[in-house]
């Protein structure tokens, strides 16, 4: 019987049975005999000198096994590393100690770690540590931090400047001189707190006999974690096993290597017992990386007919107190490479100043740099349209890179793979009923105002290739690995270097193997997140798992197929050229009844009683895939809001998203990814804001203060779809993980501003809370 081909089918997820029955294995679920618990004492000050640190009373507390301070780390743990060393930017790399030596630089900076028999004892003992601080003036805003006389965080970084990065394409100044209009606007892309529902944590188990470390950790890239552990703690990679199996969301915040796991490892090595460290949610708010936090001054040059000729950006990026693992690359490369977006804009100029402040370090957060670019671009396009009295849809249509111009080299130097931007715009306009809505809008009176906001976007995804990574200063490759092991019974184990944490690759990768080898999905197990099993992996982020990891898997499958074909030909006593493969069966051309199933071939390959000359036993192949280019998903989102001009409340009435993410392997999973991204993007536009006071206190430090959106804050999202395959990989996939956060913020704010255009309001910064909207209306009404 032919095996059903599952590629493209919305099959149910294979990871779900364990997760819906409470049998998942998240890091906090790891309970080992003799396990101890660690608690990290963190700075309550934004900026302070440590005058005295006395742990003697804590050491006497019940159950306490060890107390670690900066002194105890000397010679054992070099500081936390930064792995994205952007070139030509005067990048400063001040030391990032795992525990503060004599100065704390943000609320949440580590001061000491306590290990005890129980978590409660560790926490109690930490409270008994006596720390005498001398508070210093703090600075949390990046513009204030670079002013003369501002508090200085690091001796190594004068004026708190971490880097100055520039990217230019074409000649913006010439474009501005020749333009009919130049529109200027300042945007604040506020600080966000990723808030994966599972906080971060680790369980370190040191085996004193074999001197091997096993680490369970909430990571998006366990092999990278292993490498960084090895480099910072001096344990050979051969002696480290990192396991990140079930991970409760990441959104970028579980890419970095953190002090928590490093300290747990050290403690386990010293004590010879397993050490568990799980952060609380409050700790997560303070000590797990944040995202965004840009101040952007933007100019756009255009002709009177609506042709956009140039864009110029000067951005101040808040890096927090230290440079986290991938942090420097996020507001530089990942941001500036996308400022011309889907438009044929020949001239761009971008400058980004990275600034140290007394805040939690920032790093990648879903979209990472690209939402910041898309937001400013799509807001500017609307502002120019308004200046020229054009419809927002028309100005976009006029400036799109035409569908017949792909592959297209952008002013920034990227090579867009494929696109049909007008196609998604048209679909979205139709789906939302654009003309009708505009008519409705014209007819409206009263205090409830309808607003329609568009966002047409393109994103750079499938983060690769390694050569580009090297040129950008990323201290690693951006390829991915896959191993396909066909067992003697014909069942398949897939080992992937992608490290899903909710994206469903246990299912979609099985669908890929099913498609390539004709093996039933239920016979395929996808193993991820275990460095002992998987050769190597760069992990899951930047919408790269399917485009890079999935493609590696396709090539590994094809190697298996080629080898199996040779064995089948030998068994059938024909030339390999006379073999055909379909639906899991090798047959002789012209004699379809003569054949061997892939399962039969697998068994023969392990029996190896009769193998073709030069073919080795077994049926297992690996492939390390390094793409030649990125992928560029795109689409059009339209948001419809109703703004109550008396209260400032923004009611999200409709949200239409038409995304083109290339070929779909599992449409149900793709839709889920889009929904989730939308919720986070709309969350940024309307609700979420990481706020510090001037002393560096995190005011939005709990889930009661930071508005992770709830179910009743959203309408039902209306999705449309278009498929323009990517020529960069054999499946034609592009990537879908970040479309929602990249596209949605400008759609929402454009809608809010559109609703208030009659007040003369041109801009409202995110989040557009009722208070902000109301104040904007008041200011406009009173002429202030």
């Amino acid at each position: 019987m032919a095996v059903t081909r599952m590629f493209g089918a919305a099959i149910k997820r294979r990871e779900d049975p364990r997760l819906i029955t409470g049998k998942g294995a998240y890091t906090d679920d790891v309970i080992l005999p003799g396990m101890t618990h660690m608690y990290i004492l963190r700075s309550p000050h934004g900026h302070a000198l440590i005058k005295r640190l006395d742990t003697s009373r804590a050491r006497q507390m019940p159950g306490v096994l060890a107390v670690l301070t900066a002194q105890d780390l000397e010679g054992k743990l070099a500081g936390m590393p930064c792995a994205w060393l952007i070139p030509n930017a005067d990048l400063k790399l001040p030391p990032y100690p795992a525990l503060a030596k004599n100065k704390v630089r943000y609320v949440g900076d580590g001061v000491a770690a306590v290990v005890a028999e129980t978590a409660a004892q560790a926490r109690d003992a930490a409270a008994a540590i006596e720390v005498e601080y001398e508070p210093l003036p703090a600075v949390v805003n990046q513009e204030k931090a670079i002013e003369p006389g501002a508090p200085q965080l690091h001796d190594e970084a004068p004026n708190n400047i971490a880097f100055t990065f520039k990217l230019n394409g074409g000649d913006y100044e010439a474009a501005a001189r020749e333009a009919d209009v130049v529109v200027k606007q300042r945007f604040v892309n506020q600080r966000l707190i990723p808030s994966a529902m599972e906080p971060r944590g680790a369980v370190a188990q040191w085996n004193p006999g074999t001197e091997e470390l096993t680490l369970w950790v909430t990571s998006q890239n366990p092999h990278v974690e292993r490498l960084l552990i090895s480099l910072t703690l001096g344990i050979p990679e051969t002696k480290i096993r990192v396991i990140s199996r079930d991970v409760g969301g990441g959104f970028g915040s579980k890419i970095p290597y953190y002090m928590g796991e490093a300290l747990a490892i050290l403690a386990s090595r010293e004590l010879g017992r397993p050490v568990k460290w799980m952060e609380s949610r409050s700790e997560n708010f303070q000590a797990t990386t944040h995202g965004r936090d840009h101040i952007q001054d933007v100019e756009m040059a255009a002709k009177r007919d609506g042709t956009i000729t140039g864009i110029k950006v000067k951005a101040y990026a808040n890096m927090g107190a230290y440079l986290s693992t991938a942090a420097p690359g996020v507001p530089t490369w990942l941001f500036t490479l996308m400022v011309t977006g889907p438009y044929d804009i020949k001239n761009m100029s971008a400058e980004v100043i990275g600034v140290f402040t007394n805040t939690t370090p920032t790093d990648a957060y879903r979209g990472a740099g690209r939402p910041e670019a898309t937001y400013l671009l799509e807001r500017m396009v609307d502002l120019v349209a308004r200046e020229l009295n054009m419809d927002p849809a028309e100005i976009r249509r006029k400036n799109f890179i035409p569908a017949d111009k792909f592959p297209y080299t952008t002013a920034e130097g990227l090579l867009y793979d494929s696109g049909n931007y007008e196609g998604t715009l048209n679909k979205a306009l139709q789906l939302v009923g654009y003309d009708q809505l505009r008519q409705q809008q014209k007819a409206q009176t009263g205090t409830k105002r309808l607003g329609i906001g568009l966002s047409t976007y393109v994103e750079v995804c499938g983060l690769a290739p390694s050569q580009a990574a090297g040129a950008m200063g990323f201290q690693g490759g951006l390829w991915e690995s896959a191993t396909v092991r066909v067992h003697p019974t014909g069942k398949v184990t897939v080992l992937t270097g992608s490290s899903p944490h909710g994206q469903g690759e246990e299912t979609t990768f099985a669908q890929i193997v099913n498609s390539e080898l004709g093996i039933p999905v239920e016979d395929i197990e996808v193993v991820h997140g275990d460095t002992a099993a998987i050769p190597f992996g760069m992990g899951t982020y930047g919408s790269r798992s399917t485009a890079v990891g999935g493609t590696a898997l396709v090539f590994a499958c094809r190697k298996v197929r080629d080898k199996a074909a040779r064995i089948a030909a030998h068994l059938l006593e024909v030339s390999p050229d006379d073999i055909e493969f379909q639906d899991g069966k090798f047959t002789v051309k012209g004699a379809p009844d003569r054949g061997k199933t892939i399962q039969e071939v697998a068994l023969s390959s392990y029996l190896a009683w009769s193998m073709p000359e030069g073919v080795t036993p077994g049926l297992e192949e690996s492939h390390f895939h390094d793409p030649t280019n990125n992928t560029f998903p795109f689409g059009c989102h339209i948001c419809v809001v109703e703004v109550d001009t008396e209260t400032g409340e923004v009611k999200l009435q409709r949200y239409v998203a038409v995304d083109d993410v290339g070929t779909l392997i599992n449409p149900m999973i793709v839709e889920g990814q889009i929904h989730g991204g939308l919720a986070q993007g709309i969350g940024q536009a309307l609700f979420e804001h990481g706020v510090y006071d001037d002393n560096g206190q995190l005011l939005s430090g709990t889930l009661a203060d930071y508005a992770v959106p709830r179910a009743d804050m959203f309408p039902r999202f209306e999705l449309g779809n278009q498929v323009t395959p990517s020529p960069s990989n054999p499946m034609g996939v592009k990537g879908v993980g970040e479309t929602g956060t990249i596209a949605s913020t400008p759609a929402v704010i454009n809608a809010v501003v559109d609703a208030l255009s009659s007040f003369g309001i041109k801009h409202i910064d995110m989040p557009a809370t009722p208070e902000r909207v109301w104040q904007a209306i008041q200011a406009a009404s009173t002429g202030r």
Binding site: T21, M197, S282, A679, T702, L703, A711, F717
Partner: protein, 166 residues
């Protein structure tokens, strides 16, 4: 230390705990039922929701000693006789989960919701689960999963009523 005895998922279990121990830690650490998750420390996220005497509660908001003598159902006890509960089935069918961390709390909350309102509207579902945070799904498929379960449970009770009248 205080002795706490509960009936959890139909079994009588007991343990000694410090009086300050939260029910969620008793369930996870003492009883070893790690399907119930801890997602925050302010009773905001709902990941730890269980049924306490049939009512959905955030088990981080209850002291273990307060639960003494009570009946508790956790996600591990929801499937009966190897048969998934209609809500578990709905979450699987409708892609109501991604990372799965909030899922046990979300499902237990929905059990309570459907008990009180067997055929909720979409808005009632959204309002009913607003105490549980999900960062992955955007909630849309969770709503669909609960709708699926409501329909399935209505069918089942219809069949049972039919069987009873025969």
């Amino acid at each position: 230390m205080a002795k706490v005895q509960v009936t959890v998922n139909g079994q009588t279990r007991e343990g000694d705990v410090e009086p300050r121990t939260l029910l969620v830690h008793f369930i996870r650490d003492t009883l070893g039922l790690t399907g119930t998750h801890v997602g925050c420390d302010t009773s905001s996220c709902g990941a730890c929701t269980v049924l306490l005497d049939g009512k959905a509660v955030k088990s981080c908001t209850v002291l273990a000693v307060q639960a003494n003598g009570s009946e508790i159902t956790t996600i591990e006890g929801l499937a009966q006789g190897g048969q998934l509960h209609p809500l578990q089935e709905g979450f699987w069918e409708k892609h109501g989960l991604q990372c799965g961390f909030c899922t046990p709390g979300m499902i237990m909350t929905a059990v309570d919701l459907l008990k009180h309102n067997p055929s909720p509207t979409e808005q009632e579902i959204r309002a009913g689960i607003e105490g549980v945070l999900c960062r992955c799904t955007g909630y849309q498929n969770i709503v669909a999963a609960i709708q699926y379960a409501a329909e399935k449970m209505a069918q089942q009770s219809g069949q049972m009523a039919g069987a009873g009248s025969r």
